[in-house]
């Protein structure tokens, strides 16, 4: 197991503002993510955490602000560009392809590595077959890593919730991302499943050096896993720092517990 090293800033978000009509989802938010760290985004319901992830991988386009990733600064991301640049994610509500097997779902994660065109794939013999076997080998590594060998041929719709979450993580990992965005990876899980998931996230981070940006409600998990925490409330950033600093911040406490008047 390699020693964790946290490098320089890999993703820098500056003055991001996002609104839908008159509703302001995010207001002037800036924070950065360093290479190799686990960065948590927390906040009460409706604070704009998921919107933040959607801005990072180009699902939403912010009205203002800049996103610097890999030394390139842009006004907004494009989903395809984000994927090509190595940003992968999982969703709050599982977004697996229900009609496909676990194996096929994870194989979709490797679509950007595939070089053959559809005519070569229709012929199959030759490059397409070779490529398919090569990608399958990579996918099997991910399957081994997440310990889901026994379900690889099962249609995902038949799996229990916790395993579906794991398959979704596998699909994201298959893309060999530089940054992994996890939107509530442990929501709705029991303690044992949560422990498994925590272990997988830490293993990914330590073994592959993947940067992780994570949204989570379980404070125990957040404080244990993350290197730095950013706190959002009503679309504004109210705190940013080490877990212990954030925990003691009076504004964070009042956002979570309410304020005595």
């Amino acid at each position: 197991m390699s020693e964790r090293t946290i490098g320089g800033v890999i993703l820098d978000l500056r003055n991001i503002s996002l609104s839908f009509g008159g509703v302001k989802a995010l207001t002037d938010i800036s924070f950065d993510v360093r290479e190799g760290e686990v960065r948590a985004i927390i906040g009460p319901n409706g604070a704009g955490k998921s919107s933040m992830l959607n801005v990072i991988n180009g699902v939403y386009r912010p009205q203002q602000g800049q996103i610097a990733f890999h030394g390139k600064t842009r006004h907004d991301m494009d989903t395809h560009e984000a994927a090509a640049q190595g940003i992968a994610r999982t969703f709050q509500n599982i977004a697996l392809f229900k009609g496909m097997s676990v194996l096929d779902n994870i194989m979709t994660g490797r679509n950007l590595k595939i070089k053959t065109n559809f005519l070569q794939q229709a012929i199959w013999w030759g490059p397409a077959r070779r490529e398919e076997i090569e990608q399958r080998r990579k996918v099997e590594e991910v399957i081994d890593f997440l310990e889901i060998q026994h379900i690889r041929k099962t249609p995902v719709g038949r799996l229990p919730y916790g395993l579906q979450k794991r398959v979704e993580l596998a699909r994201a990992l298959a893309a060999e991302p530089k940054i992994l965005l996890l939107d509530e990876p442990m929501a709705g899980m029991n303690v044992e499943e949560k422990q498994d998931m925590c272990r997988f996230i830490l293993d990914v981070n330590e073994q592959f050096g993947t940067t992780v940006v994570l949204i989570e409600h379980d404070m125990g998990v957040v404080m244990d896993l993350s290197d730095r925490v950013v706190v959002l409330d009503y679309g504004r950033k109210i705190a940013d720092g080490l877990p212990d600093e954030v925990r003691g911040n009076p504004e964070v406490i009042s956002a979570y517990l309410g304020q005595a008047h």
Binding site: A83, G99, T108, Q121
Partner: protein, 354 residues
């Protein structure tokens, strides 16, 4: 008891990724192909060949085409017959206007013209989905038939757009006997079905299914939605186009634009719903079922010797047919292909299910 894969170990990813991973299936399909290619042409009667098998295979090809679009890529379409019409008229014009063009090339080019038309009429799919998309593909249906009737150049100035397909000649050999036509159609359908199977088990197929199941996640993963959807329209229309060309050349001989009506589109749609959406074998099973059921019912009445007026008989056929469709949809909404799959799974452990 006999249908189980015990002892068949897969030791490479290539082995695991075969089309028929179970040995018994491979034998069965080999026997089926052998019968279809060798036994049937010599033993079947002319009526069985040109009245049942040829149209059944051609309509299966159209069902395959629609299944690409609706079953795999999730884009509902009612324009199947229109794309078939494009294929039929395009191949007619290629053979007519380019002397000495190889027939198979004309079919392929006709498929490409249909693919191009498919891309044009697939553009709305980037914005609308579901029933709204179905309504916009309905426009294809009416527009193409209108076009073919209106512009008589397309039918070589014949009255009301009727065309008569030229004799089929490949390398100097004329395909005129039912058996030779059957073999040509069977070969084309078999090759195209294999190519499609290859497509859907590789990245293109996964892209289509991803867009069908969860378009948002598919986009985030890196599948370009526009290219993926338009490719589905193109490949689907190509298959329908070739089916249309065969429909004109190998089956009817003489076709008119009105023959490719909305009724035909609906029939093909029923075939894939009954057979199984997103299944290649389902396209064949569904086509066989929809096409053969009326004939089978007819024969059944003939065999039992029940006498009734012709009008009652034909209506009764329709009613039984409709009833069967509803019955199958309730029992197995995923189609006959799924029913067959479940049977096979049960058969693996039969007769000792514990």
């Amino acid at each position: 008891m006999f249908y189980r894969e015990a002892g068949q170990y897969k030791t490479s990813y290539a082995d695991d990724g075969q089309i028929f991973p179970i040995r018994q299936d491979r034998y069965a399909i080999a026997v089926l192909l052998l019968v279809a290619f060798v036994v049937v042409p010599f033993t079947a009667s002319a009526y069985l060949l040109s009245g049942i098998l040829i149209p059944c295979l051609i309509i299966s090809l159209a069902a395959l085409g629609l299944n690409i679009l609706t079953g795999y890529a999730g884009q509902l379409s009612l324009g199947t017959a229109a794309f078939m019409a494009v294929g039929a008229f395009a191949s007619y014009n290629f053979v007519l206007r380019i002397p000495g063009i190889p027939l198979l090339l004309a079919f392929a080019l006709a498929g490409m013209v249909a693919a191009f038309v498919g891309i044009i009429f697939g553009l709305p799919s980037l914005r609308v989905r579901g029933f709204y998309l179905a309504a916009s593909t309905l426009a294809t249906q009416f527009f193409i038939v209108w076009c073919l009737t209106k512009f008589s150049w397309l039918s070589n100035n014949s009255s009301s757009g009727i065309i008569t397909a030229q004799p089929m000649q490949i390398l100097g050999y004329t395909f005129s006997s039912p058996a030779s036509k059957y073999l040509l159609v069977l070969s084309i359908v078999a090759v195209m079905a294999l190519a499609l199977k290859n497509l859907v088990r590789s990245n293109t197929g996964r892209a289509w299914m991803a867009i069908r199941d969860m378009d948002m996640a598919a986009e985030v993963i890196g599948f370009p939605p526009m290219r993926t959807k338009l490719l589905a329209f193109a490949v689907s229309s190509f298959y329908c186009g070739v089916a249309g060309a065969l429909y004109a050349y190998a089956f009817l001989g003489t076709v008119e634009p009105d023959g490719f009506s909305l009724d035909l589109s609906f029939r093909v749609l029923f075939m894939i719903i009954i057979g199984g959406l997103g299944s290649i074998s389902g396209s064949f099973i569904g086509a066989g079922f929809v096409f053969l059921m009326p004939i089978a019912l007819n024969m059944f009445f003939g065999a039992t010797g029940i006498h009734m007026p012709e009008s009652v008989k034909s209506n009764l056929e329709q009613m039984i047919f409709g009833g069967l469709i509803i019955f199958f949809l309730i029992v197995e909404p995923h189609g006959l292909a799924r029913l067959w799959q479940i049977t096979k799974e049960k058969l693996r452990i039969w007769p000792f299910p514990h």
